[in-house]
Symmetry: C3
Amino acid sequence: MKKYIKITLLIALSLSLTTCSLIPTKVIVSEMDPGFCMNCHQQVTPGLFQSWVESKHAKNGVNCITCHTDHQAASDQKAMVFPDKCGECHAKQLQEFQMSRHSIGFDRMRIQGEYLGIPQEIRSAFCERCHTVQKRCNSCHTSHRFSLKEARDPYACGCCHLGPDHPHKEMYKTSLHGTIYKITQNPDRAPRCVTCHMPYGTHNSSFGIARGPAGTRSEVVNMKEIPISKEDEEKRREEMIGVCASCHSRRFAREQLENADQVKEAGFELQKKGKDVIHEIAKEGLLYPSLAERMPHPTEGRTLVLADPQLYLGTSQIERLFFTMFKFHNIRVWKSGYHFSPSYTHGYGWAEMQLDLIDIKEEAEKLRGIFREKK
Amino acid sequence: MKKYIKITLLIALSLSLTTCSLIPTKVIVSEMDPGFCMNCHQQVTPGLFQSWVESKHAKNGVNCITCHTDHQAASDQKAMVFPDKCGECHAKQLQEFQMSRHSIGFDRMRIQGEYLGIPQEIRSAFCERCHTVQKRCNSCHTSHRFSLKEARDPYACGCCHLGPDHPHKEMYKTSLHGTIYKITQNPDRAPRCVTCHMPYGTHNSSFGIARGPAGTRSEVVNMKEIPISKEDEEKRREEMIGVCASCHSRRFAREQLENADQVKEAGFELQKKGKDVIHEIAKEGLLYPSLAERMPHPTEGRTLVLADPQLYLGTSQIERLFFTMFKFHNIRVWKSGYHFSPSYTHGYGWAEMQLDLIDIKEEAEKLRGIFREKK
Amino acid sequence: MKKYIKITLLIALSLSLTTCSLIPTKVIVSEMDPGFCMNCHQQVTPGLFQSWVESKHAKNGVNCITCHTDHQAASDQKAMVFPDKCGECHAKQLQEFQMSRHSIGFDRMRIQGEYLGIPQEIRSAFCERCHTVQKRCNSCHTSHRFSLKEARDPYACGCCHLGPDHPHKEMYKTSLHGTIYKITQNPDRAPRCVTCHMPYGTHNSSFGIARGPAGTRSEVVNMKEIPISKEDEEKRREEMIGVCASCHSRRFAREQLENADQVKEAGFELQKKGKDVIHEIAKEGLLYPSLAERMPHPTEGRTLVLADPQLYLGTSQIERLFFTMFKFHNIRVWKSGYHFSPSYTHGYGWAEMQLDLIDIKEEAEKLRGIFREKK
């Protein structure tokens, strides 16, 4: 009880003394005394409470009720606070966020063939854990501390941007950039994710200065998946080089990025060789199970889908070999080019794609040897 | 020589001034002057000596002879100190340790079929390096510094709990819990391994508050491998939720853990589909090499072993495909559910299991196509 | 402008006051005023400039022109500074470096069959990014800060020494050595890469105290790829044990290293089993595509190449299975022995090799079943 009084005094003091830019731009009047929540929660959820106490929010008088409205509402919506609420104070950040790919993450997931093809419990434990970024600023701004140090750390981004199909964290970590940052923890010494993807603090990530978004497609597209113009691409490249130029000559930066463009092209060319073998096999009627024998694709129906939105289940093995090639290995080849991670470009990428191609060609020959006579 | 005198004085001083709880609970009288060891060892093993000098042991007068008995004995048993010796001072910790899975780690390894199936040099470099945890408190409490900081760090646990067949470290690192801990190094901000597995400092790890132990089995069993009662399971779950509740609502924590239960079930169901295909193939007599043609399993004999204690050598390829499915991929699916690591649940787990199933089904068809006629 | 004056004064002051051993051993007279470069570069490349300002170089009056000669020359050779230039001041380090494997890294790459078999853009983004170590001291000594902390960190070495075909970083990280260093950041508590590979600060890495170099060959060879004498090997082993002895007894250290020797032997024996199966298949004329049907090896011609310098593209699948076995898995088995990483010895190594062997044997049977009749 004494603790709570101390906290309330702290808030009062903070409100009277600070003139920080993060203070609410309009006065938020709560119907409810925040003491109602805190009285209990400093006992039942002490870790949460302590994190808030140490936050800028606490120092600026932003309390439970400011964000959660009232205790019943908080309970009803499982304590979720949506970006619109955060935007009441952080308007510029909300506006930028709404232009970013992050702001459509949940909606795009829900129409994905892959998502539709997996059981609900896996969806919850996997897809939705990251794709809620559309609905939760605290995907990156870790509640209830909301520390900028935590949000800007490459590992914060790496919580979602990792794993076999988009190893952004791994590629960064294995680059010289990531290595120097890791050793020095000094963003003036080497870039971290936000340096390039949220330059100058914009919350319009991926539509900011980097060339994305892209998925596994080779074109650079806008939020409606429409390829952007060559001019716009060039403009973004120049802006990107402007970031590199803090430490590198513009000539060097341009050369490195153009090399990455070439790597990307080489990856997609190699991927096409795998695709061609499978189209041939399909024409020869040797896919097993055939398109007729299997469940239709949730969004594409009974067509041969190679590359996004290809599924990883219920297909023939030769398609499955291609799935690994395009989804796990080609993505490493081309994305690592822009992240300057040689081991992902080659060992985990290009070499694996070449091995995939051998597997695909051999499987085609086996299908011909084993199954043609049977037909 | 001067150095040694300084050290001896330090010990004497420490003994006279400190009343720390770690001071031996019974007086240990050594026959041997510890100076005999130190005189030499501060020259020949200066790193070891320096670590000890900085340890609480040194500050509390615990010296070479306290643990190693005497120079000849230490040399005879290769300087090993067994838990019973540590328990002379740390009785509570020893008692808890003896109720934990760690305390049977070496014995269980020695009767494992897998262990019996591999050469001694690999056993030494691999199995025994971790499984000596039964015999060595310094598996976790790194000698000769015995720093609590080192023992409690997630990386200390991760020294053994990592790799393809139990990537606990990797799952934790890729969770939001692990990420926030990594960035902040603050155990009040996010849990580390010991928070859940050794709650409130108990040394009864795995039989503490988490639901384990489990291996790759779906049941929760006791130290004699007998499934524990539903009531006991529920009790443990409630205790676990009590730990989560420091930062999360109990409702939220329960939902997350129940989602993990469902993920676990889904993983084992999918695994069963692979198993069923192979049982069918075995019935059709198409396993190659057949059970009769191969070395018998060291503990199970000439039976078809799918899932633990299945071996990874000398089997048919279709069994090998299942080995990868159950041992490397299903374990990621279900354990990652409880560790909240989406990339291990899906990309490294569920997706890989689906690809495994395609491989297994295709291999079955190939076996039928190629080898049936030959029989 | 003011900033620049401050910097020039700083340099002048540093030159007059310091007598550090890193001060140029001969007076370097530049034709050019370094202010010419800095005037601009503190504006256009502020990150680079700031790194230099904080460097020992700046403190000792080593400026742009000292290393880059003049602005035109710097631009012409893309700002590269070659080891000979660094050696003008750091003569001992250059001399040691020239005896190391690092100093032939680029030349050896250029005659490698693998290198010759991949497109230029992948070569630039992959091979050359690391192999320029021959030409750039700033591969390890990160420009323009040239901090010893950065150069000595295990992650600095790990920038190149990582990935599927030489996971040195990963093996170290997953060892107890790497773990304790990670937690403590104290090189007196646990060794880092340079402790064993550049003992006592020698720049003759790999020809220093460790037993290398080796590649995937089982012999220890010199820079001309000629196996070194047994006596020389023994001498190096004793020197290595001298490093271990800082913390371990010599007996223990010797035992651990001899265990690693045995692990190495076991790995190569297992690898040979895979090789034997493929030689048999080749004799039976079942390689597909056959040596006659495929592009010749860039350096070995139309011969069956198993193990280095085997290519990963255009071969038969059974050779590709062996490629994975020798290049990714056996290297983990034997190198992890010396790096004390049990998960790389077993899970990522030995177990994978056994699975590879099953795959190779099964593929041999399939080739016999499917393709023999067709011939």
